[in-house]
Symmetry: D3
């Protein structure tokens, strides 16, 4: 079975793929005809595909996030590859293919990432901080293996959020060694909670965000996480205005650094400054790494990256 990113123009192929998006469209013929405009993907990448002259049955059969078996021909359209679908059917029980094999995901297995996070939570020495973190992590425990860290910006894939957390925890541990005056418990707690409400802010399946939720738009993940901490404190019998609770909320609220980036307050504790810069460093480096990995080998430059001042990255290694 050929991986998406190994298909070349004029190849004819048969294989299983994930039908990531599907839309019924009309050709510009007079009168117009219906066709299915499709995105096929697997773990290696994605390509647009067309099913010309879609029947009424076709239009009722195919839905986003379903696995399909496709016979297709690779064509070039406006300098980009595109698949002309010759035959297509939904995958069946007996095909023995599973969805998770077809999606893009973090380079470390999700369950390993979640175990690492769980372990580090247990290493938080301060019992109150630890319990608050546990409470908030439990709220999303069913989603943590899958959740991406963003819709498109960075770590936007299966397990992306957990991967971002783990990398930041590594950086945080190193920084605490460099600068022992930092409160390691507080920094760990802040790293784990800073984006903890993202799975509720966005509606995602298998790491692919389809839209923002209503609370996600009206409150945002920053205020949501801050409220979760309040809720945790109340339920755990910790005073909601105790210094630890306030410190932890401060780290969450300030982690975007500036008001125009969504933080209602700016970092005013050493650990809050550290959290913001560790977050920025990890997110930006991941944008670079992902863009380099998904840009075809022959290209010298990645596409422009919105989160990097809208600049492309020069890939050629010196």
């Amino acid at each position: 079975m050929t991986l998406i990113n190994q298909l070349n123009s004029q190849d004819e192929f048969v294989g299983f793929y994930l039908l990531k998006e599907v839309e019924i469209k009309q050709t510009n013929n007079t009168p117009p005809k219906d066709y299915l405009d499709i995105i096929l993907c697997d773990s290696s990448g994605e390509l647009p595909a067309k099913l010309w002259d879609a029947s009424a049955l076709d239009k009722e059969t195919f839905f986003p996030m379903g696995l399909v078996k496709v016979k297709g021909l690779v064509q070039t359209y406006r300098e980009k590859l595109q698949i002309k679908i010759l035959q297509i059917r939904p995958a069946k029980e007996e095909d023995q293919v599973k969805l998770t094999d077809f999606i893009r995901s973090a380079p470390v297995p999700s369950d390993t990432l979640v175990q690492t996070i769980t372990k580090i939570v247990q290493e938080i020495k301060d019992p109150e901080l630890r319990e608050i973190v546990e409470f908030c992590v439990q709220k999303v425990e069913n989603q943590l293996e899958q959740a991406p860290a963003a819709k498109t910006h960075h770590h936007n894939y299966y397990g992306g959020l957990a991967y971002h957390m783990v990398r930041m925890l590594e950086l945080g541990e190193f920084l605490c060694k460099q600068r022992p005056f930092l409160n390691a418990d507080l920094l760990k707690a802040g790293i784990i909670l800073h984006d903890i409400a993202k799975p509720e802010e966005m509606v995602a399946r298998l790491g692919i965000v389809s839209e923002y939720s209503v609370p996600g738009k009206l409150l945002g993940h920053i205020a949501m996480a801050s409220s979760w901490i309040t809720e945790a404190a109340l339920k755990l019998g910790i005073a909601a205005d105790s210094p630890k609770v306030i410190a932890l909320q401060h780290l969450v609220l300030s982690h975007h650094n500036l008001g125009e980036w969504g933080s209602p307050v700016q970092p005013q504790m050493a650990e809050a400054v550290a959290l913001h810069h560790i977050d920025a460093l990890d997110a930006k480096m991941q944008m670079v790494e992902d863009a380099m990995n998904t840009t075809p080998d022959k290209d010298e430059w990645t596409p422009m990256i919105r989160g990097l001042e809208n600049k492309a990255i020069y890939k050629t290694r010196i």
Copy 2:
């Protein structure tokens, strides 16, 4: 007893005043001598005053927010009036003067304002919104009569916060008549709660803010009020993620309109748009009105007002 704003250069006077600020300073003589640098105020305004050659006893006797009896001489220093203190002593029991007669306050009595707010809370028809509002108002009920709405920006005096609320409630009621599609209960609740955490954000006495509190700096009144709503919902048995709770938090979180003004989300409900613009209209008009009232009659222009694009207001009536 002469009011502060009626003292003229060269007047000699005796009277009771509030010693709003006092600091021990040194003259530039060689060697330097200690003197007390003082702000005297009453309900009509304030003036700087000096007690030259302060004794060790003087330095231990006078503290901010105390009432004093002063015999003084009005001088002009760098084109501004300044009092040379000839005699000064703390007010005594038998002087029968009370602090509240000497402070600047809202033009409507504070208890009337609080009664009005209490009455309007009771008029909120939706029982859940009403109970959440009651819960949050109770948190500051001891401070509501006194609390100012800001340190310097607007409504910065005794009862300023309650006065701001009441005026906004009047505007809100009018707007709901003009545009009946607005949810009047939600708008009322939003108006009452938008600044409800200000008494905890700032440390104030008698309407005079001395500094921001630690939670005030680290969280800000917007995130604090949002957390109070979470707390209210939890304690009242209302789901923290029910639409009403989210809507009310949205109004509070978005009322500064822009990230750079401190709101982590922007208004995305009709009532949130209304709340922001009613708040802006009332705050700006009060800045104008207060500046006009406290600028001497002879001046054509008020001082520059930071909240009005740093412009002075032309007072002369046409």
Copy 3:
């Protein structure tokens, strides 16, 4: 006759509509064929329509802003409704349909709005302010019933400008009651004149703006209205540099508040501050209300609104 906003996919219908826009386009066939790309509207809304295989006669018969009788079929194209025109002809005398029945307009009849404005002009007590306002209103009196307040931003329909004025006058009257130090005559005059040059700034027919005029682009409605006040003063024998004339020009010039929003000076009189904030409140609330009214009932969110920080409004009522 079915209203535009009640047409559903697959409906076949016959009715009169306003042909708001029409453009000759080519299909992508080889060789391409001409068709008419049309916007049909009535008072309830608008829909795109196609007349495929347009004849030479068709191309000469249909022009923007004409009434037409249409037999059509409602189709879905890219998830949106679109009309396939089966038959079309211009409306005739004997059809007895009139243009004004087919356009979107303010919710209050335009003649009533203009009468209200005229009445309020007469209530301005200061004779000089009143005469200046009368002079400027007369300049656009033929357009005032129809003129929109903007091309797309807000109140962009028949009578939109007059409606905006009347609502602002109501708010202004309320504010003058709340804050009696305001000069009610000046505020009324400012409200009526602040956008008075808009009908000359934009070329509009029946409330639909086709483009900005040359003076509209080179001078803008703010400088135009300011010059009209100069002209009024000169013709009425009032000194062009008298305090009233300057105050009224100041209100007009400063009503956009900031330089980057088009005001060469910032508000520096109490009434100018009031004018700006009343204008903002009314315009923003109308954007919200119009967006909610024209978004299909089934949608939870309106489209993004440029004038509201490019945010969508959550329509669902709690």
Copy 4:
């Protein structure tokens, strides 16, 4: 008689100077004593001066903008020169000194500058443009010889405005030769009128601005000049909405280029673009030249210049 810029520390001198500013201040002694804090100037520069122990008579005798005879001693105070006044009296009739000999002024005599401007006005071929320019110039003809172009920014001295006009007219003439498609009449008219209302925007005497006028603050020189053009057209029987009038107003309104710099519209005619850039070039170069001329020879750098991105200029010639 020694020029101000030739006085050195420890010099004792006698001479006539202009008393540019005088203020009664108090020493920090206990009790404080009155002294006069003075700025003395002549055409070469200015220095601060003190008259210690000022008598009641002294305080009533000396006013800003008067000529005085001074016997003084040059001292160094905080690394800057300062004059200790030993004796001072107002100049008398018989001293035969005149004010205009003591002020800073443009390097070309003012009457020559005004003659040049008058001559160029006469060279405008288009009679309507010429008459409008004449009308507006006449409004300030009594002030044109003296008026500065700004309070502090650039050309802030006797004849500064006329000097700025003449230099810009030279640049404009050169540019019209380089680019003959430009309308030389319109550019000339625009150059002469762009700052023509400055003498009414600011209150100045002998080129020294004391403050902004009320119309200057409420309208600004840009809107004022635009209204003058309207007035000129009306009085000369030229239609206020004729293309020439609109074009000329456009040049004036747009000459600050951006909204945040005070222009309600941006340049949209070739001559408007030219006007803005000629204005910028001349103003910035004059800031540089004036800063270099008034910085002591021994300094490598001028002070920071607000209009040049707050940068100092490196004076040393290579």
Copy 5:
């Protein structure tokens, strides 16, 4: 042979043109067919053209920047002219047409421009400045006749860079006469070197930029030119930190005036201020002039111009 800008709708014509761009595209037919999407140009302008039903041979025959003989029909597509190609072949030896006759170029012959520049280089009196300028100019001497000054912004055609230099040198000479304190040698050197690295920053052929080079993106022409000056000094035996070298680098580095426009330092020498403003004046005026020349006579307004605050220019002459 008809010039591009004289073709009208429905004209049939035969002639030679430059094939500026060519792309293989597909029609939206089912199945799609290939066609060539082409830009044809000559010295008077450019038009889009289509070769429908392109053969395999066609797809291999035509490349950008080739001369072709075309028989075509002018059609209107979406209100714009477009050529339907009836016949097309590459130009042959015997056709005796040459590329340079078909490209847009500066209004003064390129060799004349380069001679003028060479002459002015020789007029720089200071031998070190002159030799550094010579060294840097030599680096691009093969490209200077052709190089444009920008990709799209201004002077984007054959000889555009040299033309920009010459015009700026004229303005610089005039300014040095107006303000003799300027160092004419330094200003000349700065003008010639400020954009000297542009031919290396962009990949261009015949004045048409296809893309930015790798060093162009990673370093930018400003830093490149600064390094060339270092290199020149080293090779000429001039100390790299001598005042002249630093001054010249300062002019180059600061000529965009602000950090957000690409200058790492701001102008801090008189000649640097002059250079920036001469550059701005010449570039902006050329944008205006080019836009006016290439907009059809019948249009009142040019298209919007990005470099002029995204405003269109009103072409109509008054």
Copy 6:
């Protein structure tokens, strides 16, 4: 000998200190008297000091950066400590005190830091990158032990630059382990060279910057370092436009990330993105750490820190 940061009000003490700044000032007495306004410091901090009634000899004896023996009395002036000098004399040979014992310095000995840097330079595997780095480091080798990284912003003390480099190298090493696709040689080289020109940009002695140098102001350390790389390449026989040279210059030029922060190009290589974020993380954390260390124990908050959005840091440990 008491350390500066252990002196309390009313202490009388004798000891050696560094006279960091000294200025002759005058009291406000009539007539004023001269006194010396001094900053005394040692490695623990600094305090203002006054020598009242300074004699002519005193004024000629004391200069900045000299060691002195002082007998003094600690007083409180405007709530801050200040030393009244009772006796003072310059340190003599026989006092056997040395300057370097009295200055603030990095927490790691400077020679160790320089050795670490030297060692890491040798570990750069690519010979061309290594030699370029060696060349540039040699240019400042005499200053590297002492040089601060900034005037006031961060690492502003003896050895501050080397300390900043070493910490960044540690972070860079860790990041290269986390993300092995990074070119470790290039990142090391970029870290060492990014601020390498700072010792030439600023005039410093013993880690205390007195001012910016002329090349520092006119070129800035970013352009200077870029030119040094050019110089290195030329002298080492490496092509100035080879990919390695361009990459290294790109890292240096882009390390401030944005034009408004001084970078003429933005990061467009993975290592450039890494360099910017490592630099930011280390600089900001050091600002926090230094502010916490130099704020008195009793204070809950540090002073406001310009480089941290002008926020104070909450010191209290939770």
